[in-house]
Structure formats: structure tokens, C-alpha cells
Symmetry: C2
Subunit: 361 residues, 2 copies
Amino acid sequence: MVDGSRPTLSTVAQHARVSRQTVSNVLNSPEIVRPATRERVLRAIADLDYRPNVVARQLRTRRSSVLGLRMPPASDGISGQVLDRFLHALTGEAQRAGLRVMLFTAEDDDAEIREYQNLRATTGIDGFVLADTHAGDPRTRWLAEHDVPFVTFGRPWDDDRAGTDDLAGTDDGKRGEVDGHPWVDIDGRAGTRAATQHLLDAGHRRIAFLGWPEGSGVGDDRFAGWHATLADAGLAGDAVVQRTPDGVAQGVAAATRVLARDDATALVCVSDSIALGALAAMREHAASRSGRPSVAVTGFDDTPVARAVDLTSVAQPVGDVAARAVGLLRAQIEGRPEIAPDRQVLVEPHLVVRATSRAVR
Amino acid sequence: MVDGSRPTLSTVAQHARVSRQTVSNVLNSPEIVRPATRERVLRAIADLDYRPNVVARQLRTRRSSVLGLRMPPASDGISGQVLDRFLHALTGEAQRAGLRVMLFTAEDDDAEIREYQNLRATTGIDGFVLADTHAGDPRTRWLAEHDVPFVTFGRPWDDDRAGTDDLAGTDDGKRGEVDGHPWVDIDGRAGTRAATQHLLDAGHRRIAFLGWPEGSGVGDDRFAGWHATLADAGLAGDAVVQRTPDGVAQGVAAATRVLARDDATALVCVSDSIALGALAAMREHAASRSGRPSVAVTGFDDTPVARAVDLTSVAQPVGDVAARAVGLLRAQIEGRPEIAPDRQVLVEPHLVVRATSRAVR
DNA sequence: GTGAAAGCGCTAACAC
DNA sequence: GTGTTAGCGCTTTCAC
């Protein structure tokens, strides 16, 4: 490695006694150049430790191979964790596919759209990953209208196709092709279904649900999995639900209400935060009414906290999500829809069983 | 916004009836162009919604205004949290300074160094942020030798200037100018000092320390703060230390040992994970020996878990760290050392007092 | 102060 | 197959 100026295409061409264009061809369409010359060129490239200047290439081809991702405003909660893990995975998957991830921030949706324009116009970013869509999101609409490649982690919940029981029987991973934008999401319903089934299998019959207030797509989806599973077991009739905003303290309160009024033997929680609160409430409760059999608890997200307190939880396979997201993006950027057959992908989570649901009954 | 091709310098020049160069000057050295023409040009820029193509500019200037950061291998622990928060803050601070953050991954230090070369040669990244340095780090050496701008979050611990008591009295924020590489770090010693002092002020006299095994710079630094503070109070003689690798389970074990043998009334923990374990151990212990006054606990990092379980903890001001890091990087990239006077910056953490240290004695 | 010319490193289009 | 020419959009000389 010389520490003077870096070699360029011409340097390599001179070295290999060919024209610049031939070197370029060796790099971009190796098959069209005669093996003998190709060898010679590759040799020169290696000798000189030449690496193409992607900036120059980008200026020419209008392709940056860079993906943009907005850092969501530091969600100091436990659930922000999932996004961070996703970012890790995304970076790796993107790199494997020859793409880079570039970060940016924005105050709100409008500011974010302005950043899209900015990034496209100035740095020529190829596509975007949105990890925090919400109902009626103006960003996805803008991106779609302007033909900007993008993919979301999370379904668009506007059309309200989920969240009720009517699809409970069709949980086979692939829901009908709607021509919305490309997305990847985790099947929350399947997650709570697995948790509930696990508790049923362990002999529980009175399984309550601690959820978020109705109206959040994600929360309703998770609720549906629990409800459908109990319904299938003929236990939906006396099923107990407590709804509360997310948070540990809120979880304590909600669980306390359930424990005081009902003789639930297990709690399926919509998040690890709430589950954590439920565990605390149970300790309280156990102290006052000792001798009562312990109550099983499951959470959702499998955050580090869950591991820390040995909480059974539904793990989100963010690695899979990231891989599919990158595939979906490449299909658009490279104009090859065939490399990502499904424009909408639902990834199956899996249950991690730990102490809180193994307690003796 | 026309959805044909974007306007370029020439478009604007034509529109404003000046040469391309004049437009460029308005953008880069506005002061040298006559106000009248400047106005006209700015008008044209606004009319056309022109934005300079940074790729073309970069090809010319050899400056990308992009910072590289390696995503550390998904540390699924509680403490990985701090890095994630740092990344959030860094993205914001960088953007405010007209810089972008680009992510990459690497298996190990050597692979990372190869990526440095790659990123420099191909995309012309301007500088790097290292958020996870370790003793004898080959990466910082390589970067320094190759004159690549960089800054680390974390001191180089090789030279062992900290970790003992000898500097305890000089805790005034600025330690001597050594000509190592630029870094920003959090003053762990000051953090445990604050925690210990807080406990002393609350009347505690037997304050034990739950730390990591000796040899980790960060851990030794935090240990030193606790030890020095007790020494200042004349209580270092019978001070109890338990050392253990990080982790909740490990914290349980270590705290159990302390509680069994010693009559400590407070525990200063080197991390939130260990503190979490200590809390669990205390609950155990309280159950068996009821009536005993509760033991105060402090953690370190102020992770979401700490908030969740109402644990007093030392908060790392990652926002400040990010801001200083960006300043240090800009000083190098732009060749203006004056904008970041201190090449090494120690940021003061602060104690967040919560229930676990407010317990009645 | 303003403009014309050259060139950053690369690839697309066409010659040979 | 290979080489030549042109030009992506910008900034940096250097005349004027």
C-alpha cells in the first residue's frame, strides 16, 4: 500500500497495458472480456491494491448503494430495544448485500419527508427503511408517490385488516396479496398464540391478558392471538382482559386488579414492561396471601430485562426481518422484483420459555 | 418541484444569467460575490428548488462529510444500551454539524481495520468514531499511523494512568495533556464518588462495593471513586469488596456473599446488571431475616431497567459525549484544532436518586 | 467580482 | 473484444 495518491482506473490500465474501459469491464461485466486480458487486469488490480472509487461511480451511475434510516427519537423505554437490535441486524444484512446504512434524524413526519428529499437530491440515497410506521403515515404515502424504494418494519395498520378474530383461522403465515407498499412484520398474533397455547399445555385454564388500550394495531394483533387461542379451547367466555398504557408501573396496577378480582392462574402480557410490572405485583400479592399457587407470566419482545429476571417471553426474530427487508429493498433498487417474491412478509416469532411460566402449579 | 431531472449548477446559472462559477461562489464563499448578483442567484436557487449534488462535490473536494461507526456485535446485555443511546445522540449531533453517520460491521479488530481502508478508499469516509476500545487496541494505532481522523468514546486504558487512588485528589475534570489520540469519556470515578457520597450523606457507614474483576479500566475507575470517597471519610479500613463478572445472576451471588458475611447497609454496584442482582438477593435475604433494615443499592448506567425497578443509578450523559466527539472529529477533518481545545475530554456523570437508596434506615 | 477551461474517477455509447 | 470519446455536477485554477 503506497501512501501517495490512490491508484485509479487509468493507473491500472497503464499497468495492464489495456484501456481504461477494459478495466472497467473487468470490474462490471467480467464475462465480456477475454480471459487472458482479464487475468492481466486482475493481476494489475491486485498488484496496485486498486479499489474503485464509488463516489465517481455513483456520479456516473446514479446509484449510491446506501440505505437511509431515521433514528427514532431515543425511546428510552424497554421496547426501543427491539429497534436497536433491528438496526444491528440491518447493518449486517445490508453490508452482506453490498449496501450501507446511513442514519439521520428528524423531529416529526414532515421533517422526515423533507430529509428524504434532501438525502435523495444531495447524496443520492437509494432507498429507505422505516422502522416505526403508524396509522395514516404520511411518509409511506410520500415515498410511494415519488417512486422512492422503501420498506417498512411493521404493517400499515390503517386498513384494519387485522386485530379482530375473523382471520384467526387463516394464520398460515401468508395473508392475501394486497398491493400496498412492501413491508416486513412480525406476527404478533402468532406470538401470543404460542404463549397462550404453552400455558394451556401446562394445564392453565384461567389465563388473563394484560394489554394496551384498543386501537394500536400491534396491541390488537397480540390481543387477537390470545383471544383466538382461548376461543379454540372453548375458554373465551370467562376470559379476563385488563388494558393499560405501556410501562412497568402500569403493569403493576393492571396485574393487581386482575389478581384481586379474578382467580387467574396465568397472565399473558402484551409487552415485557407490563410483564415486569406483573411480576412485581405478584410478589406483593404472594407476600400477603402466602400459600397461594404462583401465577405464570409471559411477556413480549424478549428484551434483556426478560432474560435478566428469567421471564418467559415471545422473541422477535429481528435478524430475519432485517434480511427480508434488505431483500425487498434490493428488489426495488435493482428493479428485479423476482429476488423478493413476496412484497409483504410476516415473520413468525417464537416463544422463549423461562422460569416465570414453569412455576409449579 | 419538477419531477423531471433535478436542476444543476448550470440550470441555476442560466436562470440567474451568471456563470456556473458564480453560483458555486454564492454557495461556498458568498462574501466574495456582489450583493446584487448574490440575491439574483439565491432567488434562482429558491425558484428551482436547487440543491447541490454532494456526490459531485465530493468527487472534487475529497470530502464526504460522513462519519463511520462500527456496530458492535449485538451486545444483548443491559449495558449495550449505553452504546445505543450514544448512537442516537451521535446521529443528532453529527447532523447538526452537517455530518452523516454511516454504519458498518466487522468480525474483529483486523476485519475492522480492513473496513477502514475500504471505506476510505471507496467512499471517502472522513473519519471514524470508535465506541468500544480496549487495552492495546490495534485500531487506534492504525488510524493514528495513517492519519485518519477519529475519536474514541472511552479512554485508552493501556497506560494505566487511572484505576488507583493516586489521582483521587485531582478530580477536577481536566487531567494533564498527554498527546494520545482524541477521546471523550465519562468519569466513572466521579460517578461512584457521587453515589458513595450520597450514601454517606444518608448516614450509611458500611458501604460495600460490588465490582468487576480487576484489570478492566472502566471497572477499576469506578472502583477507585468508591474507594477514594470512603478513604476521605476515614472508612476505607473495613471496606468490603466483592468482584464478579457482569450479569444479573452474578450480582445475586456476589450480593448474597456480602449480605451473609458482613453487615453492610449499602451496596455501590459497578453496573445496573449487578445492582439488579443485588436487589433480587436482598429480597431473598429480607424474606429469611425479616425485621432487618433494608440495604441501599446504587447501580451504574441508568439503563431503562434501572428506571423500571426504581434503582438509584449513575447516569451517563451520552448526549454530551456525542457532542464533544463530533467537535473533536470536526477539528481534525476541517483542520481547525481550535474548535475543540481539549483533545481529551472527561464528562461528568450524575447520580439519579431513586427508591433503592432512599429506603428508611 | 466574474467567466472560461480543466479535471476529479468513473461508465455509457459508440467506434474499430 | 477492445479502444476512443463524452460527460455525470461540481470546484479549482487563472484570465479578464
